[in-house]
Symmetry: C2
Subunit: 366 residues, 2 copies
């Protein structure tokens, strides 16, 4: 009944990602479907002398909220919820939807109003910088990924390196190798991405790369920065479909001039793509360049938590940049699109080859 890999995942989250210590209060949030993992994390936190604060959600509650909430419910975050987040030392969040399309009929404006209401909560969490986001395999997620649950479990646990004897050590090693790559890229001025229907250049001069080492996302395996906003030029094809707000967008092509998207098309979801790009001034500029290094993920599944880490891909986000990278783009949008370099692609830094056909000749990402 019990999968040893879940207790390994609990150790990764508790000991490595948030480093829970004695008397610290750690909020553990997840759906009831994540019960086995919630319990492993709960026990591990107690073993560490920390105090778990479980916040378990029932399927269907969000729909009920949107169905019954009045204006007053969108006006401010309940003080109790704010207190929970203010007093907590760290956060472990487990995605485990029982229906990935449950909010399909909910007015997007209401969803945005709730996000806006709870923006301060997100800022509290980000400000403390001790948060980990992970996923527990459910039938709904397996379905979304077009796999049986058993196959999806193998997919998820493989991506998280839970078949390793010591996954904490695995992520520490991965982080070191990523740091080597970061040190090289932070010396470079120009990045060039070349591939099918893709020929794009951008400056990363003076920008910082962040190391996606598994302390915030599990699985992880990426490094990312914010490119110089007006330096992006050329064309890019995003060969990996993305699911966003309950719809699919695929075959996206963008052309940049002086940093700005000046042409855009998509095989599927073009209307949505253009609506996003028109959301505000910053939505046509890049906020992120990310490089995936996770070779434990065999293929894309339209789940951004996994896809953006795919070894052999790079991702570009239109919209808001992360302040810590030195990026300056502001937007209400931050939308990751993934460019597959595994078949005939190349990534260069100041003319030196970093990655070809999805492989890094100078780095060992396993």
């Amino acid at each position: 009944m019990r999968d040893e890999r879940l207790s390994k995942l609990a150790r990764v989250l508790v000991d490595y990602s948030v480093e829970a210590g004695e008397r610290e209060q750690v909020v553990v949030s997840g759906g009831v479907a994540a019960e086995p993992l919630i319990k492993e994390v709960y026990a591990r936190l107690l073993d560490a002398g920390a105090t778990p604060i479980p916040q378990v959600s029932l399927p269907g509650m969000q729909e009920l909220f949107f169905g019954h909430a009045k204006d007053v419910h969108f006006s401010q975050t309940p003080s109790i919820v704010r207190s929970i987040y203010e007093e907590a030392d760290a956060f472990i969040s487990i995605m485990s939807p029982q229906n990935t399309r449950a909010l399909a009929a909910v007015d997007p404006q209401k969803q945005q109003a709730l996000s806006k209401r709870d923006k301060e909560i997100q800022e509290i969490v980000l400000g403390k910088d001790r948060w980990a986001l992970t996923l527990f395999p459910t039938e709904a997620l397996a379905q979304e990924s077009e796999m049986s649950l058993a196959d999806y479990e193998e997919f998820v646990f493989g991506a998280m390196a839970l078949n390793e004897d010591d996954p904490v050590r695995y992520w520490e090693e991965k982080a070191k190798e990523q740091q080597r790559l970061i040190e090289r890229l932070e010396q470079a001025d120009e990045v060039r991405i070349s591939g099918p229907d893709t020929e794009l250049t951008m400056s990363i001069r003076g920008r910082k790369f962040l190391n996606g080492d598994g302390t915030h996302n599990m699985p992880c395996g990426e490094i990312f920065t914010g490119p110089v906003e007006d330096s992006v030029n050329g064309e890019v094809f995003f060969g990996i479909p993305v699911a966003v707000a309950g719809r699919e967008v695929s075959g996206v092509k963008l052309r940049f001039e002086g940093g700005k998207v000046v042409e855009s098309s998509a095989e599927k979801g073009e209307e949505y793509l253009n609506a996003m790009l028109d959301a505000d001034e910053g939505a046509r500029y890049l906020g992120e360049l990310g490089i995936g290094t996770n070779y434990g993920i065999p293929r894309a599944t339209k789940n951004i938590l996994f896809d953006e880490k795919l070894g052999g891909t790079v991702h570009l986000a239109v919209g808001r940049s992360y302040e810590k990278t030195g990026g300056k783009n502001e937007s209400s949008v931050h939308w990751d699109l993934i460019c597959d370099l595994r078949e005939g692609g190349e990534l260069y830094a100041d003319g030196e080859l970093i990655q070809r056909d999805g492989a890094f000749p100078d780095y060992d990402f396993g």
Copy 2:
């Protein structure tokens, strides 16, 4: 799939028991097995403009706590938990165990340590006086009551008057009739209970009766006071078995002299009975006299939430009295034992018949 009686129960709890108002924060706690009722209460609170704060527990978490907690976890209530209770305006708690014997192997001392740690939480809840405790039928509770789940649902919903068109009105009417009885009893000095192996007298002079009107317990249907501590004399037989701390105690006989239990025996669980009576000085004195008025409960099920309200029974608690009744007995114990008057029993106040063979000739309790 949906039982209309659950939305009635939600209305009783939200509109009548805690009277939730606009912008009030109401903690709704229950196990995942209570999902259908939690959702009804959640929606009803939103409809009332109140903010539900669901606190959902997973089966097995308590055992995990006792299995992994260290001394530090017993030393104080986590500050987040305290904040939740301090900031809430009202509380709705739903019992819905998936195993009523889950804690059978847990050291009672640890259980007491946790109760002691969280005593301040209980005081906060009692101090606000806006709390309701109810039950959602589960297989485990049905099993404990020796019924199928379907039969148990009928039992529970019947006891809560949820087959009535307007259960709120039902409980309001019941409360009025109970108030009539209270006014009569508060005039009286002496209560006499007579029945099989039972001949007991006690003074209630100057004591207050509280009206169990469904605002705190659902189901309800009882009135109760604290008798004058040294006034209890005679013998009483408790014909209804009780389940307590995972064991059964039945066939209890007590003899009182000058308020104190001077002889005690039980057909089953005598050792436990005597341990309870020896817990402290106050444990041999009565803290409560209660009179059940709920005729929607057809029989005893070893669940005190129901049994003590059984129409035609009275219950006596050894140990601590409720301050609001004027009772003065102090003890760490408060243990309800139930005396069945339905076959050959009588209850008198100053020599006037109040109840005979389980029926109240002057009152209409339905």
